[in-house]
Every structure is written in C-alpha cells, then in structure tokens.
C-alpha cells in the first residue's frame, strides 16, 4: 500500500463511520481528521487499527489558550511516510477523553503523560500514578497548560 492508498482508505473509513466528520489534507502526506463527537473516537481508531493504517506514533496535547477555552489532543498514526492525525477538541474544564489502551496498549505512557501535564482525565486508564512528575506535586497544577502557576509550586515544594 502506498501513501495515497493509505490516506484514501483512512478517509473512507472515517467518512463511512460518520459522514459529518471533517477531513482535510494540510500536507500531501497528512490526513487531518477533526472528530467532533467523542463517542466516535474509539470506533474510528479501531477501524484504523483493523485495516492496519499506521501505528500510534505520538499523542500531542495542546492548550489553545484562555480565550478559546479549549484543549486539543492530536493523535498521530503513522505508516510509511503518511500521517493520519485525529484532532480532538475538548473544553478546558473537566476535560475528559476516552482511553485507547484497550485498542493500543502502547498508548498508556502517552496518556499518562497527557493526564499529568494537561489535566485531561482519561476514562479507562488503569495506571494513574505519575510518570514524570514528583510524588509531592500539588493537585490541580498541570504544568503544560499555558496558565499553569508554577512559581507557587517552587515555593511549596521548596525545591527544584
């Protein structure tokens, strides 16, 4: 399967699952899928998995800022030189997305990272201990958010 076939097939899968899903090509080798309904997310991933369209290369968290009041999560599925990117947009408050661990075991570390860095609750994630942050890290401070108040952290922990 070459890149074009991979991306076309992926587009078909996504479209056939939910015809309203926005799909675009920002790069020749990249398919951007804007998932509007969180419930569609896991089934689409399963669809991609079944057809062996890429492995999960990375999960990127984004903070779109206070004005947008949204967080964005990008899932990069890569095969050869093609990239299928699933975009999830969620509100900053009570951010919650489903876990992919059941479908893709290797998603666990990425999701743990996402959870502690952005404060996005992952439904179905089994291990919720900190992967990177220290044990005494204060609750409710998510360092990768744009407005994270980290000077307070320094004062509290008295170190680093």
């Amino acid at each position: 399967m070459n890149n074009e076939e991979i991306l076309t097939l992926a587009e078909q899968i996504v479209k056939s699952w939910d015809w309203k899903t926005e799909v675009s090509r920002s790069q020749p080798n990249q398919l951007d899928v804007n998932i509007l309904n969180l419930e569609q997310f896991v089934p689409i991933v399963v669809g991609l998995r079944v057809k062996r369209l890429g492995y999960l290369s990375a999960i990127v968290g984004l903070d779109l800022g206070r004005e947008a009041n949204q967080l964005e999560v990008l899932y990069y599925f890569c095969e050869q030189s093609s990239m299928i990117v699933l975009h999830l947009r969620i509100p900053r408050q009570n951010a919650r997305i489903p876990s992919l661990c059941e479908v893709i075991p290797s998603a666990e570390v990425f999701e743990r990272e996402l959870r502690e860095m952005f404060g996005i609750e992952i439904t179905g994630l089994k291990t919720i201990e900190y992967l990177y942050l220290p044990e005494d890290w204060p609750d409710g401070v998510f360092p990768m958010r744009k407005d994270a108040d980290l000077t307070m952290v320094t004062a509290q922990t008295g170190k680093v």
Binding site: L56, S57, L62, Y76, S81, I104, M117, P143, M144
Partner: protein, 399 residues
C-alpha cells in the same frame, strides 16, 4: 529503603541510582528466587522541562535547547527541529547542507551504536568488549570533533542550513577513520556472533515477536530486530536520504542477539553511506536565511534517531517563539516493551534486556519541572532566578 519481604514476593529496586543505569530511572522488579515476576517503571528523575522551556525561548535559542534533549543523539534532535521549522517557514535547506546534516547524523549513529555496544557488553559482564568498543568510539568522536568543533552537542545545524563545510582535508581524515572503524566493526560482528560465552547471555534472551513489537509500538533497531519494517530513513525518507538511500537491516529472531546484529550491521551501512556522501557531496550554499518570526502553522516530522523514530511536533503562532513543541523520543516507545519482556526472565538478564533497547532516560524526561514567564527585558533576572531554583537546563544529566 524499607524491606518488603513476604512469602511470595521480593522486590528489588533498580534506580534511581543504580550501577546498571547510566542515568536515573526507577525500576522495580519483583522476583521469585531469580525469576522476575513483575516489573514497574517510574521516570522523571532527569526531567528538565524542555518542552515548556522551549515555549519561552526564541526559535534560535530553542535549537540549542533541544540539542540537549539527549547528549548522545543530540544532532538528530536539532536536525528534527530544523526540519520542522523549515517546513513551517516554507524553505528548504540547500542540498549541500542537507547532505552534511545526514553525514553528521550517520556519524552520530556510529558513535551511538558503539557506545551502546560497550554499555551492553558491560551489563553482560564482558568488560573487555566494553573497553575496546569505547576505545574505537574515540575515533568517531575525534572525527566529529574535527568536523563540527565539539565531541557531543555538535551544534552542526543552524536554522536553514549548517554551520560548516566539509573540505577535502576533512573528508580524507573521515575516510581514514572510517577505514579503521569498518575493520573494527567487522571484527565486532565476529565477536558478537561467535563468542560462545557472550552468546550464552544474548541468544534467546528477551525474545520479542513481530506481533508483540507491533502491538507494543517498538521503534528503531529494537523493532527491526523483530522484523518490523520501521526505519524512517527508508520508509519515509527525509532530507538527503532521498538522494542517498540506505538499506534497512532486519532480523527475524527478535532476541538480544538479533538486536546486536541489527545494530552492528547498521554500523556498516552507515559507514557505507558516509563514504557515498563524501564522494557525491552536492555543491552549493551552506544555509538559507530564515525570518526571525516563523509563520503560523503546524509541522510534524519524524526522523530516525540511532535508537528509533523521533517525533517532533511544532506549532507556531507567527511570533519569534514557538507556541507548542512536542518531542516524542524513541525510548519511551521501547520502554513499554522492556517492561513486558523482563517478566519471566532471570534477574541477571534484566540489565541486558534493559540495555538491549538502548534506553536514554534524559530523552524521555523533558517536559516540565518549572517554567518561567519571561520576556526579553527581564532576561538576566529570570535566568538567575532559574539558576537559583536549580533547574539544570544546561547541566543536564550527563550523557
């Protein structure tokens, strides 16, 4: 360290400080006699907050910050960053610069694989191989020093190109070094494939099947040793790899021996590629100019680091600083596999299995320790503040 001995489980901690780990990471192995029954990992001891710190530095400064994500594969990080930024700015480095970047990347791969060979031999208790492979690694480090001006953190890249040229004198000295390295690599191929005592420690140990490797998301030589075709240089060629193609080294056995074979054969392939580049170095400029403000947009690049696929995501908002920068290093993918592979093995094999993926903890631990709200005018002030709080962005974990 409190003692947890119950009738069933006996937990052995490895790390954060442990002789088997050249960097801090924490593993807990529950053993039954000598057999590992459960493994647990905890990272973050070399966490320097690079991703967050990158958001408060300008595009040029980030280049050097990211080079310090890892001390061994430093070039590939700045390479990936440059590619992503150049993609955002819609420019492409001149062909000669691209070739030189790949040249340094392959030299770095040689350096990294030699280093890894020594470390794993040391884990296996074969110190002679360790000493010899590190002695020979000096050759490639000398080459890199003569070429770039530093032994680690080469700083070969600038945004839009490279800093230096390769002249005939340097090419000749590189070739001379490569001849020696090739001879030594062939010798090590013999040692690793023949030495009965060493094979006892590698053959059939830590076997990862192809299906496992795919499910656990292994990348790089670890995946290729399990016959998974993942090599960005081949499957998604970038930069000068489009002109200078490389062969993918695969092995179907999936054990430690296969990982050794794959890496050592990659060494030979890298040596071949470097010679090819030196023979056909394109003529032209060394760099193009990039604006200080990078146009808004998103870019994701994937490159093949010595340890596997490295993933960079950069989002620009049109200012002189990146909006978001995400680094996914190969070790984090491979660590998954090692945790699962260790179970059922002898405790004595665990360091070998760990070393088999060539783990690099400082690569993993990047994101956040502390950040700074900083603008240009307060530069020195915040810097001293940062220093005060002791985040060692620059004095990062050795390696």
């Amino acid at each position: 360290m409190e003692n947890k001995i119950t009738s069933e489980s006996f937990t052995i901690p490895m790390g954060p400080q442990h002789p088997a780990l050249k960097e801090p990471g924490h593993f807990q192995f529950t053993v039954d006699g000598e057999i590992v029954t459960r493994a647990y990992v905890r990272l973050g001891y070399a966490h320097r907050g690079i991703e967050k710190a990158a958001e408060s530095r300008n595009w040029v400064q980030d280049l050097y910050l990211l080079e310090r994500v890892c001390g061994i594969c430093s070039h590939i990080h700045s390479f990936a960053y440059c590619l992503a930024v150049e993609q955002l700015a819609h420019v492409e480095a001149p062909p000669r610069a691209q070739a030189i970047r790949v040249l340094v990347a392959e030299l770095e791969r040689i350096h990294s694989h030699f280093l890894w060979m020594g470390v794993s031999a040391h884990e296996a208790g074969f110190d002679t191989l360790f000493m010899y492979s590190w002695r020979d690694r000096e050759t490639v480090m000398d080459i890199l020093e003569g070429l770039t001006g530093n032994r680690v953190n080469y700083s070969a890249n600038i945004l839009g190109g490279v800093k230096f040229d390769v002249d005939d004198v340097q090419a000749a000295s590189i070739r001379k070094g490569l001849d020696f390295l090739e001879e030594r690599t062939n010798h090590y191929l013999q040692v690793l494939g023949k030495d009965a005592m060493f094979l006892q420690r590698t053959r059939g140990i830590g076997v990862m099947t192809r299906a496992q490797a795919e499910v656990l998301g292994a990348v790089g030589p670890t995946a290729r040793a399990s016959n998974v075709m993942r090599d960005m240089r081949v499957t998604a060629p970038y930069s000068a790899y489009r002109q200078f193609s490389i062969r993918m080294m695969l092995d179907s056995r999936g054990d430690l021996e296969a990982r050794f074979q794959v890496r050592v054969q990659e060494l030979l392939e890298s040596i071949r590629l470097i010679r090819q580049i030196l023979d056909n170095l394109p003529q032209g400029e060394l760099s193009v100019h990039l604006p200080r403000r990078i146009p808004a947009g998103e870019a994701a690049v994937r490159l093949e680091a010595p340890r596997g696929e490295v993933f960079y995501y950069i989002k620009s908002n049109g200012t002189d600083k990146p909006e978001r920068l995400k680094v996914r290093t190969p070790t984090i993918c491979n660590l998954n596999s090692v945790i699962r592979l260790a179970v059922g093995h002898q405790l004595a094999d665990v360091p070998m299995i760990l070393a088999g993926i060539d783990p690099c903890f400082s690569c993993n631990d990047r994101m956040v320790t502390l950040a700074d709200e900083r603008d240009g005018s307060e530069r020195l002030m915040t810097w001293s503040e940062l220093r005060q709080h002791g985040i060692d962005f620059y004095k990062q974990a050795a390696k």
